[in-house]
Symmetry: C2
Subunit: 72 residues, 2 copies
DNA sequence: CCACATTTGTCCGTATGTATC
DNA sequence: AGATACATACGGACAAATGTG
């Protein structure tokens, strides 16, 4: 069971980008469609990742605008 | 944001059942299919609820067995 | 104010893999 | 070998909010 699901890989990757400073509070993430292509996965995987990241208070999504890194 | 999505209603409801003592650590939750009928929603809503509850460490899912309330 | 495109949020159905019984 | 049940994944649909013209 050492396999890592796609949605968790995305979650971890975005968390890492924030930890590395490649993403800072207020930054906008790529659109869902862009992330699908970037990671080569379906909308569901990206959606699940966003669901967890939002639930953990790491990002904030706004309809019609995008997903943004939540400020501290 | 006065509306509450189905998956969050399920999350809150199960949390409430735990808080009320109607569900105690080790208890098995109804199957996904049963929860779908119980709440009148699709598998996706139930599965999203399980995704969040697992991520929050409230429940534990085991393939072939079921979903169980995690011990404190 | 209205129409339109963009983007996220939610939801539905289904298929496949894997673990348990 | 088969049934049960969760985990992951794919695809598509509609609503709501935003921005632009």
């Amino acid at each position: 069971m050492t396999i890592t699901p796609n949605y968790r890989r995305i979650v971890d990757d975005i968390k890492q980008q924030i930890a590395d400073g490649r993403l800072t509070p207020g930054d906008q993430l790529p659109t869902v469609a862009a992330l699908c292509k970037q990671y080569g996965v379906s909308t569901t995987a990206v959606r699940n990742a966003m669901l967890l990241l939002r639930d953990q208070g790491i990002v904030e999504g706004h309809q019609g605008k995008g997903v943004f890194v939540k400020g501290a």
